[in-house]
């Protein structure tokens, strides 16, 4: 049967979703911003990878040492120039600003790169695969994406729980004013968090572009998938995000096995079902639930 295969492929696909989603989750957890341009930033990463790899004539992986620091810098600049100002105007302003940014990015990309779908040069890795038992073929590229996601999530978890930077981030996320009172400089904390979020988004964008194709409008779909992974997994839990991504990926591939047309619909329905039954997601703290529901639930 193909079911085992579908589940394995779905889990591997879920890794990619988790990789996109972790930046979204981090930004929300620390700065209380849902970055509606997150998916577009991932697509920007893919386009930057395309430009660099075709200019240098190398597979896109070779350009990562250039690309990731650039994305990190872009994230810091985004935070310092735009989001920091938006946060001063209340809770709705970041939503409006990041949506406006998303419109600008999508249309600038259309101007600069046309609406043609593109793919990235993944080198030999893109085509290699190995057999796992009868009828199950695993692509090295998918496996790499999944393992990268696990590595990034573990790395983030370690950074947050073991380093002094992580302590500052957690303190800021818990209580901004108290963190300031005890002498934490919040601005660099926010800037580095935004940098990491955009760098992971760009890395995810590279995998999206190598595995499939992308065009200027892919960002909205990417955002929706990332958001669904975050909500299904539970806000503020990085491993929950991985579980959410895997749940999405498995649903998509298994339903797609029956009828490809229903794959994305099934994913959206799974998301709406989780929202109905367990609005806080599968692995989440009570405090995080209160955060996403706002205090509106009080009425």
């Amino acid at each position: 049967m193909n079911w085992v295969n579908a589940v394995i492929q779905g889990m591997l696909l879920g890794g990619q979703y988790a990789l996109i989603a972790c930046g979204l989750s981090l930004t929300f957890g620390v700065m209380r911003i849902v970055n509606l341009a997150h998916g577009d930033l991932a697509v920007c990463g893919a386009y930057l990878g395309l430009v660099l790899s075709s200019a240098l004539g190398v597979p896109v992986w070779v350009t990562l040492p250039l690309l990731l620091p650039a994305a990190f810098g872009a994230g810091m600049a985004l935070q310092l120039l735009l989001l920091r100002r938006a946060l001063r105007h209340g809770v709705l302003a970041p939503v409006l600003v990041t949506f406006g940014l998303s419109i600008m990015i999508e249309n600038l990309l259309q101007v600069a790169a046309t609406a043609d779908p593109r793919g990235l040069n993944g080198g030999a890795l893109a085509l290699a695969s190995f057999h796992l038992g009868s009828g199950i073929t695993v692509s090295w590229l998918f496996l790499t994406a999944f393992l990268t996601a696990c590595a990034v999530l573990s790395g983030l978890q370690l950074l947050l729980s073991r380093t002094s930077w992580g302590r500052k981030v957690r303190a800021t996320a818990d209580d901004l004013d108290t963190a300031r009172l005890v002498g934490i400089r919040v601005r660099p904390v926010f800037a580095t968090v935004a940098g990491i979020a955009v760098a992971t988004a760009a890395l995810a964008g590279i995998f999206i572009g190598t595995i499939g194709t992308f065009d200027p409008l892919t960002g909205t779909d990417v955002l929706i998938f990332a958001f669904e992974a975050v909500v299904i997994g539970g806000i503020g839990s990085l491993w929950g995000t991985l579980a959410g991504g895997v749940a999405l990926g498995v649903t998509q591939v298994v339903v797609g096995e029956v009828n490809q047309a229903y794959a994305v619909l099934a994913v959206n329905l799974l998301f709406l079902a989780v929202l109905t039954v367990r609005p806080g997601g599968l692995f989440t703290s009570r405090q995080a639930v209160r955060e996403i529901q706002g205090q509106g639930a009080a009425g």
């Binding site: 709705l92 406006g100 958001f227 619909l265 529901q293």
Partner: protein, 359 residues
């Protein structure tokens, strides 16, 4: 104009200050008169000028309706939905379905509004659990889901779409005039409906919910009910707008009717004009209309500018053009709040019993 006395008790001795609490003004009366006149003039345009004036006005009036409805949702109630295209789509398909069953398509506009609000009821139970950015993305998911459902439904033409039936009996001139009048009615009903709604207690409650739900709830505002009412009203209005768009284009196709572009436009008009005012969205609709007339030839650059202006407006002028003007010059042509003024001559203090100021 009411003249009330409020007792100030901030100092050690309570002092009596006479304040004037007013909402309506001569300017507001004059402007309402101008509005009525403008609507009357627009109503007779099909007899006088006809087609050449109708087409651009249809676009403008559709913008006015979309902006006013989104303002009710985001500006007054704090629900920044980027998925109102879901109900625009539902309205358009509802119009097709009722027209298919032999009902007059122009009567179908009202049916489309009711159907869109009915569809919004179960959806609201899901999305209103969330707030802020999470609400925003959840509404995007809902719109994407509706689009897929339409694509997968052969009864409404799947990916190819359907053309709106029941219009063959009308001549071109009559059909266009009827669509124009229908758009005018929906636009006027949206602006007037939102205005009359927010002038009631609902307006104060909604703004309280928007700025601080906990404080609102603890003051006895029924937060859930206010949000539900705003969401359903905006969805019903979007359904009527969707039905109009279906009549204007004569064709309903999933990718264009569920396009996120509608949300982009709504956001832009309300932000530029001024959130949480009645005048602002109308002004924003005029600005977007002017931009579209001058820049739409530049394709994607047009939307880059629209997005950029929206970002700039949020950061630099968060109250929009109208918010700025009313703050700077004290203008208020369609007032929704009350103003409290201390009259200059101190000898005019009235002896009427004290009443709490209303705003």
């Amino acid at each position: 104009m009411k003249r009330d006395t409020a007792v100030g008790s901030r100092g050690t001795e309570p002092s009596v200050i006479a304040v004037a609490v007013s909402r309506w003004s001569a300017a507001a009366s004059a402007f309402t008169g101008v509005c009525v006149l403008a609507v009357a003039v627009m109503a007779v345009i099909p007899f006088v000028i006809g087609g050449p004036a109708e087409q651009p006005l249809i676009t403008l009036l559709t913008f006015v309706a979309m902006a006013s409805l989104w303002n009710l949702l985001a500006g007054f109630s704090g629900l920044t939905s980027f998925g109102q295209q879901a109900y625009i789509g539902v309205g358009a398909y509802a119009l097709y379905l009722v027209a298919e069953h032999g009902i007059n398509p122009f009567g179908g506009i009202a049916a489309a509004a009711v159907i869109a609000a009915a569809v919004a009821l179960p959806v609201s139970a899901l999305v209103l659990r969330l707030s802020g950015g999470y609400f925003a993305v959840a509404t995007l998911v809902v719109a994407a889901t509706f689009q897929i459902v339409a694509t997968l439904s052969p009864s409404v033409g799947g990916t190819t779409g359907v053309s709106v039936p029941g219009l063959a009996g009308y001549g071109d001139v009559l059909r266009e005039a009827l669509i124009y009048w229908a758009t005018l009615i929906v636009a006027v009903a949206s602006v007037a409906g939102v205005y009359l709604l927010v002038r009631r207690t609902f307006g104060l409650d909604a703004r309280a919910v928007s700025s601080d739900p906990v404080a609102a709830a603890s003051s006895g505002v029924r937060v859930g009910r206010i949000r539900l009412l705003a969401y359903l009203a905006a969805a019903g209005g979007a359904g009527a707008v969707g039905a109009l768009i279906a009549l204007q284009t004569l064709y309903v196709e999933p990718t264009s009717i569920f396009s996120i572009q509608y949300s982009v436009y709504m956001l832009f008009m309300v932000l530029i004009g001024g959130m949480g005012t009645i005048e602002g969205p109308i002004l924003g609709a005029l600005v977007l209309f002017a931009l579209q007339e001058t820049l739409s030839a530049y394709g994607a650059w047009y939307l880059v500018i629209v997005g950029g202006l929206a970002v700039a407006a949020t950061l630099a002028a968060s109250r929009g053009i109208w918010g700025f003007a009313s703050e700077r010059f004290g203008w208020s042509l369609l007032p929704v709040g009350y103003r409290l003024r201390v009259p200059p001559p101190p000898d005019q203090v009235s002896d009427r019993p004290a009443r709490a100021p209303t705003a």
